[in-house]
């Protein structure tokens, strides 16, 4: 079960550190270099064992359904994080934005609503209620209660919305 995955994981684990740590002076580089080497050796041994011991030939995921179940959570989560901050390039001269930041509250509303609608399959007014209620509760607790300032949207910076 582990074969493909461990090999993949380990090649990443073993390559990454050796690329990053220039074997240099015994000062600040010494410690990470050895940490990386230990990790590389240990993961190679793990990979070797995984490859040499006979194992049941089946996928890492039990069928495509469970992979899909994980992706159903993972992909919206990534999109959600991107929505909050927006996507763009920043060079020293200018900032180029592909997607403007939606801020925490708008993104949360979309995200919670999506789940209620897509995975929960609730009626539309329930979806609407969740979409509105959660950001408001979070606003009350964090922005007012704990005085934590969460990322604001591009509509906030242009003065159109209070969040």
């Amino acid at each position: 079960m582990l074969i493909a995955a461990v090999a993949m994981f380990d090649s990443r684990a073993a390559f990454n550190p050796s690329a990053s740590t220039a074997p240099g002076d015994v000062g600040s580089r010494w410690y990470p270099f050895w940490a990386a080497s230990i990790m590389g050796v240990a993961s190679l041994i793990v990979a070797y064992r995984a490859l040499t011991t006979p194992q049941a030939i089946e996928g890492v995921f039990e069928g495509s359904r469970s992979l899909f179940a994980v992706l159903k959570i993972a992909v919206p989560m990534l999109v959600y994080a991107l929505l909050i901050g927006g996507i763009g390039f920043r060079t020293t001269d200018f900032t180029y934005r592909i997607l403007p930041p939606f801020g925490f509250y708008l993104a949360t509303a979309l995200y919670m609503g999506l789940f209620a609608w897509w995975i929960g399959r609730y009626k539309i007014w329930w979806v609407a209620a969740i979409t509105v209620a959660f950001p408001i509760v979070i606003f009350a607790v964090f922005e007012i209660g704990f005085r934590v300032s969460l990322p604001k949207s591009f509509l906030y910076t242009s003065g159109l919305l209070p969040f």
Binding site: F9, S28, S43, P76, F104, F115, G120, F142, L150
Partner: protein
């Protein structure tokens, strides 16, 4: 006795209204976290850690760092108790340490029709286990800390090395995987400025990586998001079982009677759990399995195990709760976390501006003794709440998946963002969430990674201070008797799995099976 005076002072701190209020909130939150299958004690503590920054800095009237640690520790106590409720009632463990309760807790509730007794037995034994452990904590903490005050860099490094060695040598997973995770943790901790020379390293020219990768977003990702993804895969199992979750006084009395019959088992398991919990990397989960094994080993009617034997509930619960409490001992006294959860709490101490370790006892006695007193109070509170609120807690399981999952993600993201107001931290959380899920899937242990991440900097600092003091000679470590003993012990611990696998190979068993058998608890 000096201890009693200190403890009384601690109770005065812990009984302060704001501290009591936060303890109550924390315990309730902990119970809820414990009941929710997608959210464990470690992730609950990690997600709520950023909020404690505001508590520690006085956002609430009268709150300070002591309130913050009482809050964090309270979540842990709640989760220790709460995880078993779903194991017993629904056959779904709410927490990793509640997995053992599936063997006997669920059968007792379902097959023998005594859910109340099963729950009550688990609660009384948890409570007694925690009480024993807290008493040991009270008396052991100060002597250990005073001894630790005399440590120089060599001894400190030896202690760190020993704790890493226990993670490898006594870990539940394959030792090589533990070693790899340990090294990864040290490596991640090394990112950013070097603490001694101030050189930058491993930042690939990125300014944002100069201050290093913060511990909190990484842990929120590894545990919070990682668990969400892992539980997403198990969705659809569902629970159709519907056991009445009522808990009467009769059940409690019966549980106390059963407890009296098993007092020796519970007490000895609690003491073993304590010493197990003090060892780094072995929190409640490993102790609960050990406790089950011991309960079974010394039972007269072994055949009843797995069919609803009460010893099979009380044994592991006493050990698990005891170990949970004990895992704070090395954190407070030496600055070495005894479990992933206490690693997260320790990160909290750093963020609140405290240095975990022996100096705490000198500089902040209120903090330490307030915490210890709150452990007594917290467990009493948890115990009472559990007896009263089981039906309510069982209802939490009905909160639909489509709401709870995104909600946990949202809270995790608030947590990782608000600590440094940084979107980079949010992305770190998301990325480490995926990594954490993958590691879980590949059966890599997360404890060494987290412990190494939180200890990485201090380990390196002490190592290099010792080397500088010894003019680059590693023999410096063997100048003092204590550090020699500790280092030799560390080397022996690392060699244990190696010896075991060589032996297994001689017997003609495959080496991984040999290494794995260490993991296969009964």
């Amino acid at each position: 006795m000096e201890v009693f005076g200190q403890l009384a002072g601690g109770f005065a701190v812990a009984l302060h209204p704001i501290n009591m209020a936060m303890l109550f909130v924390a315990v309730v939150l902990g119970l809820v976290i414990g009941v929710l299958p997608g959210l464990g004690g470690t992730s609950g503590v990690a997600i709520l850690l950023p909020i404690t920054v505001f508590i520690a800095h006085g956002s609430l009237p009268g709150s300070d760092a002591t309130t913050a640690i009482i809050f964090l520790a309270g979540i842990y106590w709640g989760a220790l108790f709460g995880g078993v409720i779903t194991s017993i009632l629904f056959n779904i463990p709410g927490e990793p340490w509640a997995v053992v309760l599936l063997f006997d807790g669920f059968p007792l509730a379902k097959r023998l029709g005594k859910p109340g007794l099963a729950l009550a037995s688990s609660f009384v034994s948890s409570f007694l286990g925690a009480l024993v452990s807290t008493i040991l904590f009270t008396f052991f903490a100060l002597p250990i800390a005073l001894k630790a005050l005399e440590f120089g860099p060599a001894e400190l490094f030896a202690v760190f090395a020993l704790s890493f060695a226990t993670l490898i040598g006594l870990g539940a997973e394959a030792p090589m995987k533990s070693l790899a995770m340990l090294a990864l943790g040290l490596l991640l901790a090394a990112i950013g400025f070097d603490t001694i020379t101030g050189e930058q390293r491993l930042n690939f020219g990125q300014i944002s990586l100069l201050s290093g990768i913060s511990f909190v977003p990484v842990t929120i990702g590894l545990f919070g998001i990682g668990e969400i993804l892992a539980s997403a895969e198990e969705q659809g199992i569902g629970f159709v079982e519907n056991i009445s979750a009522r808990l009467g006084l009769r059940d409690v009395l019966e549980a106390v009677r059963e407890l009296r019959k098993r007092l020796r088992l519970v007490l000895s398991n609690a003491i073993i759990g304590f010493f197990f919990g003090v060892l780094p990397g072995h929190g409640a989960t490993a102790a609960s399995f050990l406790g089950y094994g011991l309960a079974r080993q010394y039972s007269k009617n072994k055949e009843n195990f797995g069919k609803g034997e009460i010893s099979g509930i009380m044994g592991p619960q006493a050990a698990a709760d005891s170990a949970g409490v004990a895992s704070l001992v090395p954190m407070i006294t030496l600055g070495i976390p005894g479990s992933p959860t206490s690693a997260v709490i320790m990160a909290g101490l750093f963020i609140w501006g405290l240095q975990p370790g022996p100096v705490l006892f000198i500089q902040h006695p209120d903090f330490v003794w307030g915490l210890i007193a709150s452990i007594y109070l917290g467990h009493l509170l948890t115990f009472v709440l559990c007896l009263l609120a089981v039906p309510l807690l069982a209802m939490i399981m009905r909160v639909p998946y489509a709401i709870i999952t995104p909600f946990i993600v949202v809270i995790s993201i608030i947590g990782s963002y608000s600590l440094n107001n940084s979107m980079l931290d949010v992305f770190i959380t998301v990325v480490f969430g995926v990594i954490g899920y993958w590691l879980r899937k590949m059966k890599y242990p997360l404890a060494p990674l987290v412990v190494a991440l939180v200890l990485g900097d201090s380990t390196e600092r002490e190592l290099r201070k010792a080397l500088i003091a010894g003019h680059g000679s590693p023999l410096y470590f063997f100048n003092s008797g204590l550090s020699t003993v500790l280092l030799v012990l560390a080397i022996v611990l690392v060699l244990i799995p190696l010896v075991r696998s060589i032996r297994a190979r001689r017997r003609g068993v495959s080496p991984t099976a040999g290494a794995g058998s260490a993991a296969a608890h009964p």
